[in-house]
Symmetry: C2
């Protein structure tokens, strides 16, 4: 099987998660310069914006990078035109089945790596020619499915032949090593990159991640069928309260209007829509993207060796030798 670094053209088998309004050229270039695959999130953006971001990223790094396509975006075909013209090395996709677009992108030499939340979609995108899949668990931030990383990764690994990249709940070397044990050949990381020094998100957003605990996130939007994991702040509580009252989707959408900008640009910890994974509780400091990548993989190797030591001491995986 071709390995993930060969597919991505990167030094480390890590993809930066696509975060709407946050993942632009600065973060993407920093991750790519750090040896991972930086991603520009195109969801909610225009084709012109995307072209500009691709060109800026190219000015900031000579390493491969990618673009994330939100398949529900009304201008998705236009965005694909730009991606093909610019010959972006890798495309990740979210919110559906990219099947009908895969052939065209592959004709332009683009590697396609869909993000999926269930086995059935993983199998469909493999048949349509995807190069790898990101199996994303419900602990991830932003738009999510219902199955957890622990349950999803091995089930997708059993169902497809292409490499599986694990996402959701990974913010340190323990998560990296665990993902490999589950059958992943690479990882995607979002939440920890939110506090990368190069990430342009407002300080208030970063602070909300840095002070989060294990139970600081909640999934809003379950009642409307589009769950989104966010920090449990004033806004999130209001949304949940409307959902509990069975209010119209329009009323909920109205409440949410402008709240992503309030989070990303203004860092409004109360009224901003602060998307975050459950693993935010492990994220304790701002670092450069390169430091984050190196630290995670170094830790993963140390943990792997450490557990081996525990094994040899006869106290854990194989029982206590009695």
């Amino acid at each position: 099987m071709i390995n993930v670094c060969e597919i991505l053209g990167t030094r480390y088998p890590i993809i930066q998660g696509a975060m709407a309004r946050i993942a632009e050229c600065n973060l993407a270039a920093a991750v790519s310069n750090g040896g991972g695959l930086g991603i520009i999130a195109s969801g909610g953006e225009s084709a012109d914006w995307l072209r500009q971001q691709i060109q800026k990223t190219r000015e900031m790094t000579d390493q491969p990078f990618g673009v994330n396509l939100m398949l529900l975006a009304p201008n998705v075909e236009e965005l694909i035109e730009v991606i093909c013209e610019e010959r972006v090395p890798v495309v990740t996709t979210g919110a559906g089945n990219p099947g009908k677009y895969i052939a065209k992108m592959k004709e332009h030499g683009i590697k396609v790596v869909p993000v999926v939340a269930n086995v059935a979609l993983a199998m469909r995108v493999e048949r349509a020619g995807a190069d790898a899949v990101v199996a994303e668990g419900t602990e991830a931030g932003g738009h999510i499915g219902e199955t957890t990383t622990m349950a999803l990764v091995p089930q997708i690994a059993d169902a497809v032949k292409i490499p599986v990249i694990a996402a959701g709940g990974i913010a340190d070397g323990r998560g990296v090593a665990a993902a490999y044990m589950l059958g992943a050949k690479g990882i995607q990381v979002g939440t920890r990159f939110l506090v990368a020094k190069e990430c342009i998100v407002a300080q208030g957003y970063k602070d909300a991640i840095l002070k989060a605990k294990d139970s600081s996130t909640v999934a809003t939007g379950r009642s409307t069928g589009h769950p989104v994991r966010v920090i449990k702040n004033k806004l999130a509580r209001e949304i949940l309260s409307l959902e509990k009252k069975n209010e119209d989707v329009e009323k909920i959408n109205e409440l949410c209007t402008g709240t992503l900008a309030a989070a990303v640009r203004d860092g409004d910890a109360d009224h901003g829509n602060i998307m975050s994974g459950q693993i935010a509780g492990l994220v304790k400091k701002e670092q450069s993207a390169a430091e984050i990548i190196q630290e995670m993989f170094k830790e993963a190797e140390e943990i792997y060796e450490d557990r081996n030591h525990i094994c040899r001491a006869g106290s854990s995986i194989s029982g206590n030798g009695k």
Copy 2:
């Protein structure tokens, strides 16, 4: 740190999950004879029933076993009397903080291992004298919290000094090895033991587990604050529909009356309350409890070694060596 096998008195660091109406002497003795810690689930049962089950289990095994205490049970103090009188080796607890009961049980030489779903409770039970904690992720079956195993285990491992035992999403060697990487020193397994040959649950229940896919479970009861993970059957859909309509808890409870018995005793795949973890999709055959335990740990060792091989080939954890 004292290891989990020493605390439990077992050959393998594995606890059988407590499953109400299912986990009785037959399964508990089989797991204990297989080298794990078998558990009798006392929730919803009388003190007499529990004493009888403890005595039957002792007739069936000379190995250590445990009792699970459901802390919301109205007769919990009576059950603790029986546990102390019978000097049960280990007690696991669910649904709350066992703090005020821990000292008494420890005076009787009983090891206490609370099941927790968040960091705050893990810290509280450690202070109250717990010997270890089971950190249970939301992918587990039955009554659940909201944080996933991948996110919960490392955060609890950072917060307490006592050993952490991972639960939720573990049904094969990949899950075992991943749990160790996350910082666990042992595992608790429920769903896979549902199909143990010695498990007395009706065949219809076992068949529902054996044919489950990755997306076959759902959490009912979120709206009432008591989420329960079950197989998404006719009953589960009806409950969710009542919840969506904001019906009274009484009406939902009425619908659920007798449904656990319908599942456990009658194997009613449509109208039974078939509790199951998300990992049911990996459970493909009935085996003896001893075979399940041996296979999981053997696989875990093989997977650990296999990943090491991948590492040395330079294709994964440490990057591709470019």
